[in-house]
């Protein structure tokens, strides 16, 4: 049994990266994620790791691209404005079918925004973020333990599906401290990296890592191949947590930090005798559509809670059974705008009062 450790979410990410075999980190300081580069700058020398504080987010994602092309496990981390800058490199990595882990400890935007928690970068994360119609794997931890576990999973999924993977948390999860069990790296069947550049030895084939595809039909075929891979991800890797959903009339849905707050409210509602449950997506891409589809055959209504004006709700709408009623409660990011469990409990009570098929936006 591993000893428990009391650490910050960001530190758990860094610890997990080391446990997952990552020895190459390239980053740039930005609040609220700077504990990650600081931890690795301190720990890597003794482990023989390569740590570079790059001149920019653009440089750091391209260093990740280069290291990943050589087959090593590599990571970068950032937040809001920095993640925007990384999109160029993420698109090239997707086009070159390169693995690599990108940690996004979200802050507010647009622009410089602010450093408090936000879920308004859901679209940026789950829709690819850069040009070219690709997606990346997006994992949404809701606890420090999950920061640790999902960071390790991100490395495995990224290697298996040969695409970038993002650990998508926010300032709340990144900055808070919880006790975790730093489990050893789980066993995983990983494909051989027979595509990495290594210096072409006599009698071996030339290897090229590239995204340029100019041959007739070559790019179209690649897009369909990516499409198939995303479908496979959806089938095999969708992950979610259900809490008290078996007999629930109302199912609250939220991810990450919003889900923690929602869970407290659901527990309070249960104590008050209300039939309420929680569905928390753990993978945002692939989105656990099946969970919503199956649940909406049983419950009467979904209450979606986000720290934004509503982005995940698009995916929820696409996943539920036709005619399912969806309520929405959003607190767009801002200092002092994090909802309390009591506030969400009120929303639960309201949602249980009225069942109509009105658009969720008519509530505002």
């Amino acid at each position: 049994m591993q000893a428990r450790k009391f650490v910050k979410g960001n530190e758990a990410v860094a610890m997990a990266a080391i446990e997952a075999g990552c020895r190459h980190y390239f980053g740039y300081p930005i609040t609220p994620q700077s504990d990650i580069p600081e931890y690795l700058a301190r720990e890597f020398p003794a482990l023989g790791g390569e740590f570079i504080q790059a001149e920019s987010e653009i440089a750091s994602i391209n260093m990740l691209l280069g290291a990943s092309a050589c087959g090593v496990r590599a990571m970068t981390s950032s937040s809001g404005p920095g993640i925007s800058l990384k999109q160029e490199g993420i698109s090239y990595m997707a086009g070159s079918e390169l693995p690599g882990v990108i940690v996004d400890i979200c802050r507010q935007g647009p622009g410089l925004g602010g450093i408090d928690a936000s879920q308004a970068d859901y679209f940026q994360a789950t829709r690819g973020g850069g040009h070219g119609g690709y997606r990346i794997i997006v994992l949404a931890p809701a606890s420090v333990q999950e920061m640790y576990d999902l960071t390790m999973l991100a490395f495995d999924l990224s290697d298996i599906y040969r695409m970038p993977a993002m650990v998508f948390a926010d300032a709340v999860i990144g900055q808070m401290k919880e006790a975790i069990i730093p489990n050893p790296r789980p066993a995983a069947t990983l494909p051989a990296k027979d595509w990495v550049v290594r210096g072409r030895k006599e009698g071996t084939e030339q290897r090229v890592v590239k995204s340029l595809k100019l041959g007739d039909g070559e790019m179209e075929a690649f897009h369909w191949q990516m499409h198939e891979r995303y479908h496979e991800l959806q089938e095999k890797e969708s992950r979610w947590e259900e809490f008290e959903t078996a007999d629930a009339t109302l199912v609250v849905t939220a991810f990450g930090s919003a889900a923690r707050i929602a869970k407290s409210a659901v527990m309070a509602a249960r104590e008050a005798g209300m039939k309420v449950g929680l569905l928390r997506p753990i993978t945002l891409f692939p989105f656990p559509a099946k969970a919503y589809h199956d649940l909406t055959g049983r419950c009467r209504k979904i209450l979606d809670i986000e720290l934004s004006t509503g982005q995940m709700i698009d995916d929820v709408r696409l996943s539920v059974q036709p005619g399912t009623e969806i309520d929405f409660y959003g607190r767009p990011p801002g200092a002092g705008s994090l909802p309390t469990p009591e506030e969400i409990f009120e929303q639960i009570k309201n949602a249980l009062l009225i069942f109509t098929n009105l658009s969720p936006f008519t509530r505002f």
Partner: protein, 247 residues
């Protein structure tokens, strides 16, 4: 019968897409000769850039990573840190290295990354159709400076070999040209020296190679070659600006 001249083994036996009179082919060849000379081919990883040089992997018989526009020296940093035993070089044009990639090249050079950078300066964006580059000469007409580059508005052409030689992290910096036999022989010597720096683990080496672009200069190959000597070299002097270990 003794063979006295042959294609370098590091270069594939294929035709290039380069325009008649373009000097990328010549520069490719002397880079390949340097890899052969030092026996580096089987541990070399090239970092291609965006522009006419993107097809590096179609001509060099080595492993290649394609880099986003301007980012080759950051990609090369990642490659070298992941595989320190490799010989890593970038091959970048002037728009790529000296405009969009200025930050990446300055910081890779300043960190003293143990890589070799081949910078081809033909004073224009070749592949996109002859727009103004950071190295376009004052007065030079391009598709985006139809009245000539205006220094008061567009600034003066950047002299990258001199600029980088001022950084402590740079071990070797030289500018070469391939417009006449004397310069070509010197270019071979300097490029060989740049790779020797890396092979001996002696630090960051930088080669700026002046190159003709007849198509975008609106000249025939002979006129374009003559322009390298008459207009480019007077502003971009060939020579060694830094050679800290006197290799």
């Amino acid at each position: 019968m003794q063979q006295v001249f042959k294609r370098p083994a590091s270069l594939m036996d294929v035709q290039t897409h380069f325009c008649p009179g373009c000097q990328h082919g010549t520069i490719h060849r002397i880079v390949a000769e340097a890899l052969d000379e030092h026996g580096l081919r089987d541990r070399t990883i090239g970092c291609a850039s965006v522009g006419c040089s993107v097809f590096l992997y179609s001509y060099f018989d080595i492993d290649v990573v394609e880099s986003p526009h301007g980012r080759a020296s950051a990609v090369a940093t990642g490659v070298k840190r992941a595989r320190p035993e490799s010989i890593v070089f970038t091959y970048q044009g002037d728009g790529d290295l000296a405009a969009i990639g200025t930050s990446e090249i300055i910081h890779a050079a300043n960190r003293g990354e143990d890589i070799t950078v081949i910078f081809v300066n033909n004073t224009t964006y070749g592949m996109t159709g002859g727009q103004m580059a950071p190295t376009t000469l004052v007065g030079q007409k391009t598709s985006t400076t139809p009245y000539g580059r205006n220094q008061s508005k567009d600034g003066a052409p950047l002299k990258m070999a001199e600029l980088l030689s001022n950084l402590d992290g740079v071990a070797f910096s030289a500018r070469v040209a391939v417009n006449d036999p004397r310069n070509l022989i010197d270019a071979r010597k300097q490029i060989s020296r740049a790779f020797r720096y890396q092979a001996e683990g002696k630090g960051f080496s930088f080669i700026e190679a002046l190159s003709a672009c007849p198509t975008n200069w609106g000249m025939n190959p002979l006129q374009a070659n003559a322009r390298v000597g008459a207009e480019l070299i007077p502003y971009f002097p060939v020579g060694v600006f830094k050679n800290v270990h006197n290799l």
